[in-house]
């Protein structure tokens, strides 16, 4: 039976989303059009359903389009990506293409050359119609493995390097087993890591697969030669920072949070925010509230401060003092408040490690 492809349109402008949906309905293949108003929402939709094309705005609050595309590139390498933005700066165009987007369109151009735009999208929908995984680029296996673990995925990664084929089994983000060149378990995993490049394909999970590897991925990577090599020859500071940013944003999205702010105890050190724009404003509030709460705790002899929670119609806020830092985690209003303390603690526990 023929199944319709799905297109996800991400933009923070609700009117524009409606316009886009109506416009894309003219595509000859009649794909299903879905919309998302935030990066977090889009990522959760991409997790839940298989989409063919993502059409993404760049200028959005909390998580901007480039951040979304960074995550998408790693987590959904088979997804076709199109940037549709009003930003006419060439810098954004080159950054988007550097992230591997298939097309970059300006919103006014799309309206003026509507037929050409539709043809381009139709072409993306039609390409690689046989289905399966698109990826043919050489990628760093470490990134892919770490991403699978970080996302808590259950899947089987099939890796091809030359004539060799290997498989790695993941269950809820844990490395369960590996098989390569006649070996299995840790030995196979170490062999795979020596393949510095290859193509990979994500297969359906095999939850019944027997666990052979008991060590954590971190421990295995640290032991592996490739891990040592990577430590000895780290990428540029900018690359590492970009990789860290992507990992942090992915962790926020996977946890289902909206944003996270890390606030050092010393005022002279600036707070850092992920998925939020007014970091300093929120950090100022958090510092004030924590100071107030500690003062109140002393007056009342109520014991150490554990956390502070706040709520309004739009979101929940959790403020967690942890050592010499305080974290503020924003959660969507629909999140279950009873679990947020534990979830926030889990999210922040190894944030700066």
């Amino acid at each position: 039976m023929e199944t319709k492809h799905k297109i996800l349109v991400l933009d923070d402008d609700a009117d524009w989303l409606d316009t886009c949906r109506d416009f894309l309905a003219q595509l000859p293949s009649q794909p299903e059009i879905r919309i998302a108003a935030s990066g977090v929402r889009a990522l959760s939709m991409l997790d839940a359903q298989q989409f063919r094309v993502l059409i993404c705005d760049l200028k959005m609050p909390r998580m901007d389009g480039l951040q979304v595309l960074s995550i998408v590139r790693r987590r959904f390498p088979g997804l076709r990506t199109v940037v549709l933005t009003g930003l006419q700066d060439d810098q954004f165009r080159s950054r988007a293409y550097a992230l591997g987007v298939d097309l970059f369109w300006l919103k006014p151009d799309m309206q003026q050359n509507s037929q050409m735009f539709l043809d381009c999208i139709e072409s993306l929908l039609g390409r690689d119609d046989a289905g399966g995984f698109r990826d043919t680029q050489a990628k760093n296996l470490l990134d892919v493995i770490q991403m699978e673990c970080l996302a808590g995925n259950s899947s089987v990664l099939r890796i091809t390097s030359g004539n060799s084929v290997a498989k790695i089994w993941f269950h809820h983000g844990e490395l369960v087993d590996a098989a390569a060149e006649g070996a299995d378990g840790e030995a196979a995993f170490r062999r795979i890591l020596k393949w510095k490049s290859g193509t990979f394909e994500s297969l359906s999970a095999e939850p019944e697969h027997v666990r052979i590897i008991t060590k954590s991925v971190g421990a295995l990577l640290a032991e592996s030669e490739q891990g040592i090599e990577k430590t000895a020859n780290p990428g540029s500071a900018e690359e590492l920072a970009q990789q860290k940013l992507v990992e942090h944003l992915a962790a926020i999205a996977v946890a289902g949070a909206e944003f996270l702010v890390s606030i050092p105890a010393k005022k002279e050190i600036a707070a850092k925010g992920w998925g939020i724009k007014n970091t300093e404003q929120l950090a100022g509030w958090a510092r004030h509230v924590e100071k107030t709460a500690r003062r109140l705790g002393e007056i009342l002899s109520a014991g150490p401060l554990v956390h502070i929670a706040g709520q309004n119609l739009e979101r929940h806020l959790l403020l967690l003092p942890q050592g010499d830092k305080t974290y503020v985690v924003g959660w969507p209003a629909e999140a279950i408040s009873g679990h947020l303390f534990e979830q926030s603690k889990n999210l922040t526990q190894s944030w700066d490690s």
Partner: protein, 106 residues
């Protein structure tokens, strides 16, 4: 007599955490409450002042909050904004009870 005096000297009292709820207006004046009489009014006024400042600071940071909850090892203070004033709940924790996971509302 001196010996009796020594035996009858007052024992150190255990500080009891306040329990109950009370409402305050926007100026921090306590309006009504169910907090025990052993809790001095000045203490309630201090709590009210600090809680109102938390709500005000949130508004100033353009993130107005409807509810806030301060969770300590021994006490939970929950407050709901009421048009500039607040209703404040003080809930001492029972150390023998199963620890609750988060700022549960009273």
């Amino acid at each position: 007599m001196g010996l009796l005096k020594w035996f009858s000297s007052p024992r150190p009292t255990v500080h009891k955490l306040p329990s109950g709820s009370f409402t305050v207006d926007r100026h921090g004046k306590v309006m009504t409450g169910t907090v025990g009489a052993d809790c001095p009014p000045s203490l309630l006024a201090d709590i009210a002042k600090e809680i109102l400042s938390v709500f005000r600071a949130a508004r100033a940071a353009q993130m107005p909050l409807a509810e806030v909850s301060l969770d300590y090892a021994g006490l939970q203070i929950s407050a709901r904004d009421m048009q500039g004033g607040a209703i404040i709940f003080l809930s001492p924790k029972n150390p023998l009870a199963t620890p609750s996971s988060t700022g549960a509302k009273p």
